[in-house]
Structures are given as structure tokens and as C-alpha cells.
Symmetry: C2
Subunit: 371 residues, 2 copies
């Protein structure tokens, strides 16, 4: 048995907020083939104690302890789920400590921060992947495949609404933490539009709604945008932290259309409704499953194999660049053009994988503590 | 029997294109209680002959004959379904000939034209109604009622996509006829947003796509817009004449949401999907029924009773005003503000009904020829 066991990537989870607790920590149970949880890092001693006990993790520490924990626990990779405004700092520190980085989206708050993160990980020869769980989700992949297969003709229109009511005081409503509807939720619509059109927008028009009630004193409750893609394709999207739960996207092609509803959830079934000529509407249901473990498995495998993770850091950068353009468009009330300066983020290409040798994985197999 | 028969409003149908042929001419069969078809006016002698025979209509004439036909056939009211660019002229001529006017939407191509139509009908003491069939359609009315009843909380977001493939050479792709996706289809989304929010937008952002293929050399294949409503509500919409058939709208409130899919069709069933707290999603189907006869019945009854038709001419004007703003926004790439200069178009108020006495109905009951 032992001889057959493969090496496992040893992870520290940094930031023990909602997404770590309800999604990523339990996901290690389904990623045992190449991943294990060995350390937890949080600013909250109570959470550290409790989650450490629950998941059998011995190496626990505060943000200040990050480098020591990486060293002591022989951490290969970190999963970063701290507030968005701290993604850059935490990525730079992890990279300096020679840990590979799987970072939650949005990658950072500015394009400059994203580029700094890419530079840091490149400099230290570690991989950087942004945690776009829907790139591993079957209903979304079904839509991608049907569209790329030409089944709805040429895609012309993308339309999406993503709504949710956040609680007063939620960090996702705090500007200093990188909150607001656009960065918290709009990124899903933007990423889906790019993914489904398989292209980058060249113009945006946008409006943001700020200060509607106590919850949204200094962040956007709602952001709506039009994104123009090459080939005269249009995406419209509205994301709201002050509306009831809704999570839908639609792509309309020249001969058919696809609707995902819900499109972005991870806590329930997802449905794809595909309408093609002659066949009418067909429903394709993907029952609830772990959308986070596949991210771990993929990232670990890339580390083990020395290959580039997809979605790469460029994927994260592309979305942040568009979100910054949307904020600018909303501020000025005028369209913002996006020069096609970026190398393509799809389908491959990871800037972090250019020159320096990838850090060797020192891990040997050990029983998963997350049992 | 004869004593019990009510007076019927005698109609001339002007313009025998698709909408008249497939929808309004057959609708008279379901509007016999107070409406009858007595004359047809068209530039196409062949259509006149054939449709005159089919519907048993004796009074037939070209556009040039309009005044004579109105006189000879003792026409009380005209239904105008000529190309959009001719709505104004035809309305003015009918009004001068003292016929009440039921005019297809869009009311006209410019706000100035709409105001001229209102002036003309007011001056001659005839009523003017714009043919918004969905104001009489049960699935749409269901959505209006649920929303006004507070069942989805406060409405925050409107989202709609309306797509269709037009044929090459279709008059709806001719600029000189008033074609294009915005005026032909976008008006449905705009009107629905205003109707469901029960308010007028104060800002628009827009993008139009022109010249994508041979069909769209000088009109918009596609128009997308964001409309901002008072109370920080947002509507996003995309209308396309170059995409597959899709017709959906969604209103997202603070506690629930409603989706109509299809939303704008008249040739099949319509479905309302209502999601409210606790109850989950409930589907409400309205099977295919005549959406045009109720317009005739309402307009005729208003004429008979001397009351104001709803949707009024102000309803038509409001949409045209927004469409002009959308065209301007798309041309400049910047937001266009709409001053709240208009008197409210909802729920009542018809400028045509102010001072002059309404024309007396001279009609007496006669058997419907459209049997």
C-alpha cells in the first residue's frame, strides 16, 4: 500500500472565514489523492483552536506566524482566503517563503497588485493559481462545450444577474477589506462572459449604486455593466448584494441559446437549459458536488508534474483589469476602452511559469489529517 | 335581438403587413362585442383584394384614398400598422378625417413626431391609443400584480433579452422605414421595465451594433442599454434582430424574483416563474390567446364611453423619448440624463382627452363582416 501512495501536496489554509469553513476545509477530504491539509493560519485564536481540532491540524498560527508555519509544517502550497485587500501581501509573503499559491478571487484590488503578485511568485519560482471553482464545475463546462461546439451558432449575447442579500457588517460590505457587489459577485459574471465568449472585452459601460442603506455606506450595493467583445458581441451583467438570491446567466447565439440557472452556486444543484434548432429546450442537471476539491487536485497535480495551472494568474489579472475599468466607467459615466494589451488568458499560459525553476516538492506521503 | 345589440366601433386597418395579417385582422373575430372591421387600406392592391375577400371587407383603398375610405365606410377608428416612419403622417391624416387612432408601437421615430400626433388628435377631438398588447396580456399582468403587491419585496433589478432573426430585406431592417433592433424589439424591454418598475428612467447608457452583416447595413442589429430608475433601481436590456428566438425578462426584488419566459410572444404560451420567500419557485402558465382583440375591445369601449384609453399616447411618447436617449447615449458613449419633465404616463392620463369635445360616434350596430 505505502509504495503505491503518491506524494501529496501539503497545504496551509490562510484565512478561516466563511469560504474556508464551509467549502475549502471540507474539500480536502475529497482531494486526498494528492493534497493534504497541514496548517491553518488565522487572526482568530478561537477559530484556530476549534478548526484545528475538527480537522486534526497541528500547525496553527496567526498571520504574523505565516513564514514560521510554512517552514515548520513543511508547507508546499497555501490557499489564500483572507479579505481581498490582503491577497497581494499574503501572496508575496507566501512566495518569499517558497510556497506555491492558490489564491481566492478576486486576485487583488488593482491590476498593479495582480502584477506584483505575478512578479513575486515568478521571482521565487512558485506557481500561482486563482481559485475559479466554476472552471471545474460541470454545468458551466457543459455550457462552454456546447457553445464551442457551435451548437447555438455564433454566440452574440451574454446576460447575467447575480443577486444576494448580505448581512450588515459582513466583510464583503467593507471597502477597506475589498468588498462591494462588483468585486464580490460581479467577478463571476465577468469571468463567465470571458469564458463563454472565449475572448476579452474591449469596451465597458457601467453604473454603480452606492449608499442605498446602512449596509452600503461605502461600497457598491449593485453594479451593472455592458461589456463589448470583439466581433460585436455584447455582455450585460448586474451584480447586487442587496437583492434576493438569484444566479443566472444566458448566452444567446445565432441559432440557439443556453441558460444556466442557478449558474454560480456551490450549495445546490445547477441546471443548464440548452435550446438548439429543432431540438427545443433540453435540461441538463448537475447535482450538488464539491466544486473546491477539484481546484486542490488540479493545483497539486500541476505542482507535482511541473505544469501550469489553469486558471492561471493571468485569468485573475484579466478580471481585475475589467473591474477597474468598470469602476472608472461608472465614475465618469462614459465608456472605457480596454486596449488588447494582454496576452490571452485562455486557454493556457501562466506567467508564473516562465524562467525560474519550479520549487521542488519536498513532501512525502503522510496520512491525511482531514479524515 | 337587434335591440340588444350594442353599437360597434367601425375600424379601418391601415397597413397590411405581417402584424395586421397574422394578428389584428383575425382579432376582430374576438372583438365583435364592440368592434368591427369595415375597411382596409394598403399600398398593395393584391393584398387588398385577397384580404378584402377573406375578411368580407368591401371598402378597400390605397394610402391616397384614406380620407375617402374613412368617409365612405363611416370609419370611427383606424388601426395603424404601417412602417414606423409613417405613423405620424397617417395619424395626422386620420385625425383630420376625424377618426380615432389606435397606432402600433413604436408610436413614432422621434419625440417631436409623438407630440405632433398628440396635438393633431387633440385638435380634432379624437382619441389616440398606442397598441401595447402586453398591457392586456395575463402573464405580464400577473407579474405586475405580484410586484405591486410587494411579493418580491422592493423591485431592484430588471433584466431582459429579446432576440430574433430577421430575414434579409425585412422592412424592420430598413432605416427609412424606422427599423432596427431598438425600435422594433427594444421597445418591449423598455416598456416592460417602465411598467414593472412603475416609473420613468432618469439615466441611460447604451451601445448599438450596426453593420454586422448584409441585413444590418444601416440599422442596429443589436442594442444594449442600462436604464437607471429613481430609487437606485437598474434595468439592463439587450434586443437583437440577429440572434435566435429568445424573449425573457426578470425582475429581482429584495426578497424574491419573477421571470417571464417567454415574455413578449403572442404566438404561444407564456410562463411566469415567481420565486417568493419560503414558497420557492411557482410556475404560472398563460396558454396562448388573442392578445390583440383586448386592445380593440378596450379602445372601442373608451370611444363608446368617452373615457381615456390606457396605454395612452403618453405611454408611447415615454418609450420613444427613452429610445432617442439610448441612440444618443450610444452615439456619444456617455450617459444621457432624462429630466423628469414628463407628466407620469402611468397609470392614467391621456393628453388627447383634455379640452375639445370627443367626436361623436356615428356608428350603429351592424353585423360584423369579419365572420
Amino acid at each position: 500500500m505505502a509504495a503505491e501512495e503518491k506524494r501529496r501536496i501539503r497545504y496551509a489554509v490562510i484565512g478561516l472565514g466563511n469560504i474556508a469553513q464551509v467549502a475549502m476545509l471540507p474539500a480536502f477530504e475529497h482531494a486526498k489523492e494528492n493534497s493534504e491539509l497541514v496548517a491553518l493560519v488565522s487572526s482568530d485564536p478561537e477559530k484556530l483552536r476549534e478548526l484545528g481540532r475538527r480537522y486534526g491540524v497541528e500547525h496553527l498560527g496567526s498571520y504574523d506566524d505565516l513564514e514560521r508555519i510554512i517552514e515548520e509544517a513543511r508547507v508546499d502550497a497555501v490557499y489564500i482566503a483572507v479579505p481581498n485587500s490582503l491577497h497581494r501581501t499574503m501572496t508575496e509573503r507566501a512566495a518569499r517563503a517558497c510556497a506555491h499559491v492558490l489564491c481566492e478571487k478576486p486576485m487583488a484590488m488593482t491590476e498593479a497588485d495582480c502584477r506584483a503578485m505575478i512578479d513575486a511568485t515568478r521571482r521565487h519560482g512558485v506557481k500561482l493559481m486563482i481559485a475559479y471553482r466554476l472552471h471545474f464545475e460541470q454545468a458551466n463546462l457543459h455550457a462552454v462545450e456546447r457553445i464551442r461546439g457551435g451548437e447555438i451558432g455564433e454566440p452574440r449575447i451574454f446576460s447575467s444577474v447575480f443577486g444576494h442579500q448580505v448581512r450588515e457588517g459582513d466583510i464583503r460590505t467593507r471597502r477597506d477589506m475589498g468588498g462591494g457587489a462588483l468585486f464580490d459577485m460581479g467577478i463571476y459574471c465577468i469571468n463567465a462572459a470571458r469564458h463563454l465568449f472565449d475572448d476579452e472585452p474591449i469596451e465597458v459601460y457601467a453604473r454603480q449604486i452606492v449608499g442605498t442603506d446602512e449596509r452600503f455606506r461605502d461600497v457598491d450595493e449593485m453594479t451593472s455593466a455592458l461589456m463589448i467583445f470583439p466581433g460585436e458581441r455584447i455582455a450585460q451583467m448586474t451584480a447586487s448584494q442587496g437583492a434576493s438570491d438569484v444566479s443566472e446567466l444566458r448566452v444567446v447565439g445565432t441559432t440557439g441559446h443556453i441558460r444556466l440557472d442557478p449558474a454560480y452556486e456551490y450549495a445546490g444543484d445547477l441546471h443548464a437549459f440548452v435550446t438548439t434548432p429543432g431540438e427545443g429546450e433540453k435540461k441538463h442537471t448537475v447535482s450538488k458536488r464539491d466544486q473546491f476539491a477539484p481546484e486542490l487536485v488540479h493545483f497539486s497535480q500541476c505542482i507535482l508534474d511541473g505544469t501550469d495551472p489553469v486558471p492561471s494568474a493571468l485569468e485573475g489579472l484579466a478580471d481585475v483589469r475589467i473591474m477597474e475599468a468598470i469602476v472608472r466607467a461608472a465614475r465618469t459615466g462614459a465608456k472605457v476602452e480596454l486596449p488588447p494589451a494582454q496576452p490571452p488568458a485562455h486557454p493556457t499560459g501562466d506567467l508564473t511559469q516562465s524562467k525560474p525553476p519550479t520549487k521542488k516538492v519536498e513532501t512525502v506521503n503522510a496520512p491525511s489529517p482531514s479524515k
